[in-house]
Amino acid sequence: MQRSTNQRAWFLVLPVLVLVAFSSVIPMMTVVNYSFQDSFGGNEFFWVGLEWYRELLRSERLWDALGRQLLFSSIILLIEIPLGILVALCMPKKGWLASLCLVLMALPLLIPYNVVGTIWQVFGRADIGLLGRSLSDLGISFNYAQNAFDAWAIVVVMDVWHWTSLVALLAYAGLRSIPVAYYQAARIDQASRWSVFRFIELPKMRGVLIIAVLLRFMDSFMIYTEPFVLTGGGPGNATTFLSIDLVKMALGQFDLGPAAAFSLMYFLAILLISYVFYTVMISSDKAEPQS
């Protein structure tokens, strides 16, 4: 849509600006302050310059958490995106069955994050959980509280359970926007199922899939509550991702300086990714006008 230039539109945006500034800029500035200062209890602060940043960048703790985080996000994307597309392709196209599938699929998305953690916590326990019990009856020893691999497995499965539907819903919305004529043309050409997918469905889903990939990447990059409830970051540090580590540092140990420096670097990383996201999204908006 053609938009007209009108500087007075700023007044309409002002409330948002004030509110978001209050809840993001002011807190952000305190973080910036802390990241350059040290305190010995009380309210005495000393300027330490870049000391915290240097210390953090040298500490293994940050790099380990970052490594785990990247590994986790990659596994999540590799499983959820193809699975989500597959589910979307298999969904009924219309009728009450389609509505039912939509509602059931969206259910995990609306469960509070810590309840998601709780569900899997009880589901995976060998003594009272269906999954844990079944696995131990099959002779597989499974204990996510002590075995690092098991902990990873259950955290990944939980995230797949929680968020694959999001990818599927977005892909489904993309599929629905394909006119029937395309499929008819494909049938006349006797195109195989694979080429229908490759040359009609996949290109048409491009826009929504970009959104799905970036949302999933970003949300898995800041995952906190679910693994916190499920494994508490353990066993040891095996499932301590960036957010969990940060909260431990800031609210658990009250190491304000390092935590603030950590926050800023974390936020800058997210900012960078957001920028890529925004650019890609805007350009795909332009390439494909809204229907």
Partner: protein, 268 residues
Amino acid sequence: MNKLRISAPVMTAYLLFLLVPIYWLVTMSFKSNAEILGSFTLFPENPTLENYRTILTDASWYMGYVNSFIYVSLNTVISLLVALPAAYAFSRYRFMGDNHLFFWLLTNRMAPPAVFALPFFQLYSSVSLFDTHIAVALAHCLFNVPLAVWILEGFMRGVPREIDETAFIDGYGFTRFFARIFIPMIAPGIGVAAFFCFMFSWVELLLSRTLTSVEAKPITAIMTRTVSASGLDWGVLAAAGVLTIIPGAIVIYFVRGYIAKGFALGRV
């Protein structure tokens, strides 16, 4: 034919995968602790409502739901009130810095709540709003206002400009046009935006737990503390979990056609 042969089993398997863990939580909520820990049963042998009774009669439990509802509703109202004019401005006008502003809003949706936990705690403590509903509601605006602006902007772009122009020619002032003509036209969009604000505020734990201690403690935080403190009251924990799923499960039916649009920040 071919399609049906593959589709139905895949879909069934996927839905089973989604529903079995939820089913397990629900059955557990109807079992006594003795049954949960003692015998392993697929169905509750002696279904009991005891767990739900505990929650609904104990103020320290059910006030959690009340608190959650209060701040979630406050947040939804605030988010929509400020987002409506802003979304209108973004969808209709070009102005200095509009693209930068839009991007900046997006970064707030993408900001990790963990980064804001500590500064929020200090900010709201210093203005003595700590442990109030409004504090949590304002904190959740951090990600809900940008989301609401994005969703509403998507819906408003679908309304042709000619409508605005005709109304202005007919002598409508801006406020009257906005309230009487424009808002009813994008009512579905407002519904969807409200739903998503409600939902993201409802499921969030980290900020709401950090900003509350007693008076405004949400149900989700009460649940986590019960796990760590007394540890083993699984039946009550399961019942509390089931009760948090119900509101989402009800409203989801009304917005089923728009879920994808909401999650895609209004761009499907």
